[in-house]
């Protein structure tokens, strides 16, 4: 029996996540700022602010330099007539199998960031859960969506 190949996400996904994290995680710096506004920046409070700021700077840099790459490296998906198979996770490794007969609907989504890089995500909904293949090339995403919906129609069953 032929093994269904597992695909990786496009490497451009790394860029998107880097940009997204760079903007989104700036929010965490609000914590030391608010702390400083409330308690002042003298003595003991100075060290609290310095320590948290340093921690957040390190995390912020890691979330740009390292985490997107690791996430990308660990993402695999495979789709055939019977099921969708997703592998993901860096520290917590997950493997999810969705029988195609259980797929209720599938759609592609494109936020401003993804559009900027000409990417899209594919969202697969069953009667119970929703799964996402993030950051595929927009053309590929459309193809994947159409493929899943064709397979799902073939495997038509009720809830």
């Amino acid at each position: 029996m032929k093994q269904t190949p597992f695909h990786k996400l496009t490497p451009r996904a790394i860029r998107v996540w880097q940009l997204g994290n760079a903007i989104g995680n700036l929010f965490f710096f609000a914590i030391p700022v608010v702390y400083g506004a409330v308690f002042g920046t003298q003595g003991f409070h100075f060290w609290v602010i310095a320590a948290t700021s340093l921690l957040f700077v390190v995390l912020w840099v890691l979330s740009i330099v390292l985490f997107p790459y690791l996430t990308w490296k660990n993402w695999r998906y495979s789709i055939d007539e019977k099921e969708i198979d997703l592998k993901r996770g860096v520290l917590m490794k997950n493997r999810t199998l969705i029988p195609l007969s259980r797929v209720q609907h599938v759609d592609t989504r494109q936020g401003p960031l993804l559009r900027f890089y000409d990417l899209a995500s594919v969202t697969i909904s069953t009667a119970a859960t929703t799964h996402e293949i993030p950051a595929l090339d927009a053309v590929l995403a459309d193809r994947v969506r159409n493929q899943i919906s064709t397979y799902a129609r073939l495997a038509e069953e009720d809830v």
Partner: protein, 503 residues
């Protein structure tokens, strides 16, 4: 049936009351807050509110039309925004017939037709006569279509009634046990606490409060606090006792050819019809108090909306003796196998189970112990949590058969779930980095239940053995290289382990 018609006018009132009941706590809070500000023409506001509700109710009733045509229910509703709802009978998951106190005064019922996902709550007809409800039910449940005439006996019951194969009742003694060990105790407590926090300022200002305090023997603060707690617990227990009593009183489970009918309730009578092929999963829950007493409750998952918010869980049987579980399941799920050989987490997983349940509790206890210089007895909590972890380990197991999965695990109550393989929406095997080190993993499956689904999971199974479950979902004919390498593990426990009644 074939032309648009209105509901019974009582719908207008019952809808208004439904709104009041749904927002009871908000309204009570509003009343108490309002009662304290005297500058406010307070009674006028209440009267105005009720008048508005009534007008809305009447308007809703007037604009609500329904008909059945070609086996399809068509509802037009909405005062300003008209909504047209078409419901075909092959989409129906569960049919719910409720008669509240108001409806019963007029011999009416509320008909609730559930489709998949609890966002489809609109298909409810608030007040129709029992005969009409039965006819709608019959038309929507009939397999051949609506044209045929079914003989109706003198009570207005369709003649198909005699297809009832078996009835299970809940004896009074077991109803009382169910009520006194009900899990809704915690919910009652939290509602009570919310109410109390709102009423408390009023009571403490009133003379009644001082009077009550005068009545109590002179006391220290500790005794006062303890007695308040005791009163709270007792009242919460009473609330949960009576609410369970009223909800599950007069309980019957009827098994028919194609569907099961659950009827229950003393004041508000409910009649839930679930076709067998709409059952997504069945799980048996043995609560902390009920399990030692030898009792359990049985629940089913449907894709409609169930007893709790958000999920589609319906109580199939509120309390049953352990040795009666399998005989009952034999009737409800004749095509499921009940017994399976299964696997448990390996012995090296025990440590993780113990750590997981004991770690946090022990840390908190230690912190509190040193911070507040507590009594040594507080250390019984970590001991209990270790015992709890051991129970979780002992109960965790999975089994699989021709077309079924059995998942057994414990949060507080021990849950044994029967899931048909073709009802599994997805299966996930996850492995944290610590589990990877120990070559363990967790398995989780989702089934449809309400609009969110329900998951059943077992933690810390042997990594390779868990993939057997994934292979089972793939179907044995479609084995890929990766899965065909799996060796069949030795299944060394038998699920479920309930005692069987001697025949």
């Amino acid at each position: 049936m074939y032309e648009f018609q209105r509901q019974h006018p009582v719908a207008a009132i019952s809808r208004a009351f439904g709104l009041i009941r749904g927002n009871l706590i908000t309204i009570l809070v509003f009343l108490f807050v309002g009662a304290r500000s005297e500058s406010f023409p307070f009674l006028w506001w209440i009267a105005g509110g009720f008048a508005l509700l009534l007008i809305l109710g009447v308007a809703n009733w007037w604009r609500f039309l329904y008909k059945i045509e070609d086996g399809e229910l068509h509802i037009k509703s909405g005062i300003f925004v008209r909504k047209n709802l078409y419901l075909t009978k092959d989409r129906i998951q569960v049919i719910d017939i409720t008669s509240g106190v108001i409806q019963r005064l007029f011999g009416l019922v509320k008909l609730d037709i559930q489709t998949a996902g609890s966002s489809s709550r609109e298909a409810a007809i608030e007040a129709v006569t029992i005969e009409k409800a039965k006819e709608i039910n019959r038309i929507l449940r009939s397999q051949k279509g609506d044209g045929e005439q079914i003989n109706v006996d003198e009570n207005g019951e369709p003649a198909v009634k005699d297809e009832i194969k078996k009835i299970f009742n809940l004896p009074g003694k077991e109803l009382l046990i169910a009520a006194s060990t009900s899990g809704s105790f915690g919910i009652a407590l939290s509602i009570l606490a919310t109410l109390f926090s709102q009423i408390e300022p009023i009571i403490s200002e009133s003379e009644l409060f001082e009077y009550l305090f005068g009545m109590l023997p002179s006391q220290t603060d500790t005794i006062l606090i303890i007695s308040v707690i005791v009163i709270f617990v007792v009242v919460a227990w009473l609330i949960s006792f009576f609410s369970t009593l009223f909800t599950y009183g007069d309980f019957h489970l009827e098994l028919k050819e194609k569907e099961i009918v659950i009827s229950r309730g003393i004041f508000e009578k409910k009649r839930i019809t679930v076709p067998y092929n709409r059952i997504q999963a069945i799980h048996v829950a043995e609560g902390l108090i009920r399990q030692p007493l030898g009792y359990a409750s049985i629940h089913l998952e449907s894709a409609g909306y169930g007893d709790d918010k958000g999920t589609g869980s319906i109580v199939l049987f509120p309390l049953i003796r352990q040795d009666q579980i399998l005989p009952l399941l034999d009737e409800v799920l004749p095509d499921y196998q009940k017994h399976h050989e299964g696997i448990k987490p390996p012995a090296r997983a025990l440590r993780r189970y113990l750590l997981r349940s004991a770690f946090l509790i022990t840390a908190i206890t230690a912190a509190l112990y040193y911070a507040f210089d507590l009594n040594n007895w507080i250390w019984i909590l970590p001991l209990l949590s270790i015992f709890w972890g051991w129970l979780k380990y002992k109960d965790a197991a999975v089994a699989w058969g021709e077309d079924i999965f059995l998942f057994r695990s414990r949060a507080l109550s021990k849950t044994t779930a029967y899931i048909r393989k073709n009802r599994v929406q997805d299966i996930t095997i996850s492995q944290s980095w610590i589990q990877r080190y120990r070559n363990l993993c967790s398995v989780q499956v989702h089934v449809a239940s309400g609009d969110q689904g329900k998951s059943f999971a077992v933690r810390d199974l042997e990594y390779d053995e868990a993939f057997i479950l994934m292979r089972e979902i793939k179907g044995k004919t479609e084995l890929t290289q990766e899965f065909s390498d799996l060796t069949e593990p030795e299944r060394w426990i038998s699920l479920p382990g309930w005692p069987q009644a001697a025949n």
